[in-house]
């Protein structure tokens, strides 16, 4: 009876494990008042750090800033534009490191300022990689930039510019017409951008003008591309129209006439979501585009998709908050609710999402971080069945153990129990030992290069740097490496560049660097940004701006 009860309870508990689908619960983790100005564009999560900008119409000494925070809310750096006085509505653009025909670039944060300046800065420290200028007529850049391989396309006040990501070199500057908050769309045909006169322009990749169409009103966002053409939400004085444009014939169709002040639409697959001062609308485009659903709201800003496939929309009213809409793949709004904070009010900035974090900003300049106790949706979708199978094996093993113990006395039960506990301990040891060691201070920690050395070349800023420390202050430092994701890969690249030989032994725990340039000493150990490496070099992941220090013991 006791065995049966135990088995029943264990099995029931086990079956409950993968089916825990409780709703997402957010709790406020930290908040920061960014001072004067609004947060009108979405914070950006990049390399596990948060970037956010303030905007406003500046008349006194205050000026707009771009901030970088850790996900724990600690400010890392901030950057002020002393020459910008108009609203900065151009969303920050994070660019992972890469290479192309016009050169290599490290991780970048692109900032378009309302004074017409385009800046590329190192996300790690905010220092400038390159900058460029664009025309100003009252204001300069206010729309969303677009990336096209090794280039960035910038919507300027009166047209469009294309710059090389590696050094900011100008490819072309094309005059169109005056625009505001008018983002760029990059497609296989070229670049699409609207203006305040309601004309939608196409610019080819060499900068020459392609076809254009007059839609009337004003176009204040980048169009969306669908299989059948483009979708544009055009603003008119008292209303707006969601329009479909057949790009080959330039024929237009009005899908919906709705409220004024369109939001910046968002898209996932065939589904597009539009907002304005009266409603939020879903449009599904397959053979044709059709309106699928609507919900009343006042939404004039940016949408974002949560990892759990919900839409978050800032409600632009004095009461504010964020409308959270559950939408299915057919565009049906299954449910909606309002996410409230202690600082609710007018807002247009979409939230940013971290692994299990939600970052919100509003017109009052409050940046707020919330965390969820539940695993993120992508982790749930990619459920690791290994753990489940392991749990099943433990239950089966325990059940066998109980049967054997019951039929043959306690001795064999104890033996099997001992083996099970030892096996589990061996499986858990690597994680437990690592977590335990991270909580303890180090022993006689040797000094390792953990931060930028001012004697290093500026060109290495924002890249990966490797220090080979042969002892007795005999160091070899190499930098400018990009895109390596493991200590092993970065080390190999540095060894090749330095033309050094190395002996790497394969062990049960992974590859082990035994000697460099014939020097083995008492072994080699590595430090990543000053932290001693605790796993094999092929398992040790690194960030885009890592300083890797190899030290002979």
């Amino acid at each position: 009876m006791r065995f049966a009860s135990t088995f029943l309870i264990a099995t029931t508990l086990l079956l409950l494990l993968p089916f825990n689908t409780a709703g997402e619960e957010w709790s406020m983790e930290w908040q920061v008042d960014l001072g004067e100005g609004y947060i009108t564009t979405s914070p950006v999560m990049f390399n596990e750090h948060l970037f956010v900008r303030t905007s406003g119409f500046w008349t006194a000494e205050e000026r707009p800033q771009v901030f970088s925070f850790t996900s724990e809310g600690i400010e890392r750096w901030n950057r002020t534009s002393i020459t910008t006085i108009q609203h900065d509505l151009s969303p920050l653009q994070a660019v992972p490191s890469g290479q192309g025909e016009c050169g290599n670039w490290p991780d970048l944060l692109l900032i378009g300022w309302a004074d017409g300046v385009i800046e590329a800065v190192h996300p790690s420290n905010g220092s400038r990689v390159w900058s460029a200028t664009s025309p100003v007529n009252g204001w300069g850049i206010t729309g969303a930039m677009a990336l096209d391989e090794d280039h960035v396309i910038v919507p300027t006040r009166n047209g469009m510019q294309r710059h090389c990501l590696s050094n900011g070199a100008l490819d072309f500057s094309t005059n169109l017409s005056l625009g505001w908050r008018n983002g760029v769309l990059a497609t296989s045909e070229g670049y699409w951008q609207g203006d305040e006169q309601g004309r939608l322009w196409m610019v080819t990749r060499n900068g020459s003008l392609g076809p254009s169409v007059d839609l009337g009103g004003s176009i204040r966002h980048a169009p969306l591309t669908v299989d059948t053409g483009l979708l544009v939400h055009v603003q008119y004085p008292l209303e707006s129209k969601i329009m479909h444009l057949e790009t080959s014939t330039l024929a237009t169709t009005t899908l919906l006439t709705s409220g004024p002040s369109p939001a910046i639409p968002i898209q996932r697959g065939n589904l597009s979501i539009f907002g304005d001062s009266t409603s939020i609308t879903s449009v599904l485009c397959e053979a044709t585009c059709v309106i699928k659903d609507q919900v009343e709201s006042t939404m004039n800003g940016e949408f974002s998709w949560a990892p759990s496939s919900q839409i978050y929309a800032p409600i632009n009213t004095p009461e504010g908050g964020w409308l959270v809409i559950e939408v299915d793949t057919q565009g049906r709004f299954l449910s909606n609710s309002t996410f409230s904070t202690v600082h609710d009010g007018y807002g247009t900035a979409a939230p940013a999402f971290g692994t299990s974090s939600l970052f919100l900003g509003n017109d009052a300049g409050w940046l707020m971080a919330h965390t969820s106790s539940l695993p993120p949706a992508d982790m749930v979708a990619g459920y690791d069945w290994t753990a489940f199978l392991g749990a099943m094996l433990i239950v089966i093993f325990s059940t066998l153990l109980a049967i054997i113990a019951r039929s043959n006395g306690s001795e064999w039960g104890l033996r099997l129990f001992a083996i099970m506990v030892l096996s589990l301990s061996l499986l858990l040891l690597p994680d437990v030992a690592q977590q335990w060691s991270e909580k303890l201070p180090g022993v006689n920690e040797p000094t390792a290069q953990e931060s930028w050395d001012s004697s290093w070349p500026e060109a290495w800023l924002g890249t990966q740097v490797v220090v080979f420390d042969f002892g007795d202050e005999n160091n070899l430092t190499l930098g400018g490496f990009l895109g390596h994701e493991s200590v092993e890969s970065l080390t190999q690249a540095a060894l090749e560049e330095a033309n050094l030989s190395a002996e790497i032994e394969q062990t049960d725990l992974g590859p082990y660097l035994a000697s460099i340039d014939g020097q083995s000493g008492g072994g080699w150990e590595y430090f990543v940004d000053g932290e001693r490496g605790v796993v094999a070099i092929d398992s040790a992941s690194i960030e885009a701006t890592t300083i890797l220090h190899w030290r002979v013991v």
């Binding site: 006395g409 001795e411 033996r415 001992a418 083996i419 301990s425 006689n444």
Partner: protein
């Protein structure tokens, strides 16, 4: 004598390495010679144990800190006495380290397992003719910690303070626990059997008869 100080303590020159090995062998034979006289069977059994446990240690080397030598040293000490136990511990350490890596640490490992053998010799694993499982389990847990502390002394270098050493020991706690669990598993599976094979409990009629029969019949 030392070339340098590495992560496992001083790096020995080949000569220093050889000197330590010879000193340990001499010490082992000294303990064997001064031990009470034993039969050829006992000597053969001890030799077989040394070889078998050495092989087992080498075989289990990839498994982190699961050390069959600890339980074996405890049981040899308990059954054959402190001197033979210490000789056993030294010989197993020397032989196995020749295969998996010799160095300064050999001295401390030998000292650690010798201490375990001495601890074993102080134990009375039979109580009223019955094998005392509980005492064995407590002893193997304690001997894991005893060995790990002594073996850890090998990393002491000039300039390393008591605090640093304590932190070093703290870092190793998960591995110490694993050592203790490994010892428990060995003790549960083989403890009474090895103890009996080493010559004890012949007079006991009550000792774990099922185990004895099982091994004798299936053997």
């Amino acid at each position: 004598m030392f070339q340098a100080f590495g992560v496992h303590g001083p790096e020995l020159t080949p000569v220093a390495d050889a000197v330590i090995d010879v000193a340990l062998v001499t010490l082992a034979f000294a303990f064997l010679i001064t031990a009470p006289r034993s039969t050829r069977y006992d000597a053969g059994l001890l030799g077989t144990m040394v070889v078998a446990v050495t092989a087992l240690r080498v075989f289990m080397q990839p498994v982190p800190n699961v050390q069959p030598v600890t339980v074996a040293a405890l049981l040899v000490g308990a059954q054959l006495g402190a001197r033979r136990g210490v000789a056993f511990a030294i010989l197993v350490t020397l032989l196995s380290n020749m295969l998996i890596g010799d160095g300064w640490w050999t001295l401390f490992q030998a000292a650690g397992w010798s201490a375990v053998a001495v601890l074993g010799s102080r134990l009375s694993l039979t109580k009223n003719g019955d094998f005392n499982h509980g005492q064995l389990y407590l002893a193997v847990i304690g001997s894991a910690l005893l060995f790990d502390v002594i073996a850890s002394l090998s990393i002491l270098t000039p300039g390393m303070g008591l605090t640093d050493f304590a932190i070093y020991l703290a870092h190793g706690i998960p591995f110490d626990i694993l050592h203790a669990l490994g010892n428990l598993a060995f003790a549960v599976w083989f403890g009474p059997f090895v103890y009996r094979q080493l010559g004890g409990l012949e007079s006991s009629n009550t000792f774990d008869q099922s185990v004895v029969e099982h091994h004798v019949i299936n053997g």
